[in-house]
Amino acid sequence: MTIERRGGNSVGAIIKACRLMTRMNQATPGARQSDVLYYKMLEGYYRRLLQAHDDGKLIAAHTDFFPVELVYAMDIVPMHTEVTTWMMTLFTGENEDILSASAELGLASEICTPHRGLAGAFVTGAIPRPDIMLWSNLVCDNTAKSGELIMDVTGSDGFFLDHPFKQSDEEVKYLVEGLGDMVSFLEQRSGNRMDWDRMSEIVERMDRQIELIREINELRKAVPTPFSPLGFMQLLTVDYLCPGQPEAIEYLEALRDELVAAVKDGRGTVSRERFRLMSFFLPPMHMLGFLDRIAEEFGAVSVNEPFFTFWGEGRLDPSKPLESVAQKSYMIPEMRMFGPLDERAIDSIVDCAGQYRIDGAIFWANVGCRHTCATIKLFKDVLEDIDVPMLTVDCDVVDPTVASEEEVRDKLEQFFELLEDR
């Protein structure tokens, strides 16, 4: 495969945008400290990436939910492929180039845009060429199959982590062994040894991180809800990019403190909270600002995302790092979508609807995401049984041509009208 360097460096664009956001926040009175820390964290992440090779460090590109705690512990610089593709669309508004490049590679258009995007992005040079490619089958076929083509296109070598479907003892053992194999691979490739002390620290922080997210989710139960309407996107990014890192803890603690204060004062995130919503899957990245504005206009806030921000039970043990990483992989909210969609997963929807006093639900039906869309009717029926209406919005997380702001606005308006009339 030939690599034609066309596009400019989008990482630079992301960094610039983050600095701008940080400056804006710092200049605005009453701006949230957590927002400042969020953009600082993001900026730091991408700066590390940009400087990695100059600093003599390796870059490991990886797919969603890959246990990057281990990568951090070995002083290798991680690059989250899907998030970076999203960020690129968000901050540069461009994705035509990279999607065309992926089509030229021969990737079918039914493959979801984040995954087509990242193959194309490597080809055009929009994102840095990694030294290592790490991927796993969390959470779908796309992540499972991304690695080999990317290795071919970038000339890097890589490791595939095979995550088992269920959580039996044998399966957990298989996973822990696989993680061990991955560490060996990274040691061999990087010439570094795994720093187990550092790893334990990371696990400890990871445990703290999950506890903080749980606290934040509890605080969101308040009426009116204190957390910004699309704040859950921030919570996601923090875990995807910087799990167990000091910046993540700093951000979450600041956020938690802000929410505690807001709940104490009875301050809601929108001026008049009218509808409390449950969200499934992801709204389009390029519409986040627009959706924030709609939330304020209609007083509609997403207070709960059962499969995105709701962590499973359990604490992590720093003295058992690999086991903890394995355990965490089963606790992540999305795992309830990946594993068997059993009664526990279904019950959690009903539970959340009650605990969060949900008025309605929105399912962001991403046209390229098979396994989430297959749950639309299932979740709709479950919610209908408890008299909660669900709106389905056909969209795409990265491609702006699928749904326009006008269409989405119309649908949301109609939905809020329906909720009001009840």
């Binding site: 076929d141 595939f160 088992p164 098979r370 009717k377």
Partner: protein
């Protein structure tokens, strides 16, 4: 051809074939399985009839399937679900699947909720071939066996497993013999006809199937019938069960001499290596995990190598890749597979299809063009 007609009869009446209804009338059980990673031997050794869950053999209206799985899941999973929701599979006593791909996974999740098949089991299938993966998969097969024993209130003995393995190995050997006939310069059986035989293979008791296919092979070996074509083609891809599709390719003047599909060679691919030293369950699970790989497995070279071997054994001039729309694992494999085949000097025609398509119109035109290109390059 008499032998072929019998297979056609079974296919026509599927899912509720006379063999299945006969089996049920004797008070016996039928278990539906979805992927090639479900060990049929276990079901058979339990005294039940294993049959494959398949969708419509033509492009059908999939309102229910679409509503429950949404339009962006592969038409294969939607077609299976459609049949299930219409009650066509209500004779099943159980369904068994593997955690093989998203389409299959979700089909099972939705099936479980909306169709009341009493027994439901999903095996975790690793994506790797190494020792650790072998151990895990073997454990999964054991768990499946135990679950089935518990449900049916039977004991699946090693002896029974041994017998079932011998029977299924015989089917595999016979299918291999059938395919050997297609290696000839002028095979006695077309690709479309072969597909009809395969379709029947997983819809009826193997005891009967083995007799019938033996009869067919005898007939073919004795017959003078031959087929010729402008080029020798191989179809690769995901799921394909409509013989009309193969027929429409062959009608352009090509010979489909072999294939690599979930419903063909990947089904019967390898035999179980029975070994007195090894427990039979281990032998069975080893066979299934190492069998001709589905695109979900890693590394993909394992699949590619086998495909290339086939092109040499069957003297293939060109490859037609049929990928069902929204079939993600096969779509991802395509760029690297095409590249590999190109390096071997074999051109690929990539077709994006809906499951059940008959291949007329557009597809026929593209196949024509492909054949002309093959001829021009002096195949």
């Amino acid at each position: 051809m008499n032998a072929l007609d019998r297979f056609r009869e079974v296919n026509r009446s599927f899912p509720k074939t006379s063999q299945i209804l006969e089996h049920k009338s004797q008070g016996k059980k039928v278990f539906g399985w979805l992927c090639t990673y479900v060990p049929e031997e276990i079901i058979h050794a339990a005294g039940a009839l294993p049959i494959r869950i398949i969708g419509y053999s033509h492009e059908a209206e999939l309102d229910e399937g679409n509503a429950h799985l949404y339009i962006n899941n592969c038409s294969f999973s939607r077609s299976c679900l459609q049949l299930g929701l219409e009650g066509e599979y209500d004779f099943l006593d159980g369904v068994v699947g593997g955690s093989t791909c998203d389409g299959a996974r979700r089909l099972f999740d939705v099936w479980r909720r909306y169709i009341g098949t009493p027994f439901h089991h999903v095996l975790t299938v690793p994506r790797k071939f190494d020792d650790k993966a072998q151990r895990l998969y073997c454990d999964e097969v054991l768990k499946f066996k135990r679950h089935l024993e518990e449900y049916l209130g039977v004991d699946i003995t090693d002896d029974a497993l041994h017998q079932s393995t011998l029977l299924l190995n015989e089917s595999r050997a016979l299918l291999r013999r059938l395919y050997e006939l297609r290696k000839r310069d002028n095979p006695p059986i077309t690709g479309a006809e072969t597909m009809e035989v395969l379709n029947a293979a997983y819809r009826m008791p193997k005891e009967i199937f083995n007799r019938w296919i033996q009869g067919l092979i005898d007939e073919l070996e004795a017959s003078e019938k031959t087929h010729s074509g402008r080029a020798r083609l191989m179809i690769v891809g995901s799921v394909l069960t409509n013989p009309e599709f193969v027929k429409s390719i062959e009608e352009q003047g090509a010979l489909v001499v072999t294939d690599e599909l979930c419903t063909s060679t990947r089904y019967w691919g390898d035999e179980v290596q029975l070994d007195d030293d090894k427990p039979v369950l281990e032998a069975i699970s080893k066979r299934y995990l190492n069998n001709f790989p589905c695109a979900r497995m890693y590394p993909s070279d394992e699949r590619f190598n086998r495909i290339v071997d086939f092109t040499r054994e069957y003297k293939v001039d060109g490859v037609i890749s049929e990928t069902v729309r929204y079939c993600v694992p096969y779509a991802h494999d395509l760029p690297l597979l095409s590249k590999r085949l190109r390096d071997e000097g074999i051109p690929t025609l990539a077709l994006d299809v809906e499951y059940g398509t008959s291949g007329s119109g557009q597809i026929a035109t593209r196949v024509q063009a492909f054949l002309e290109m093959l001829e021009a390059s002096g195949k």
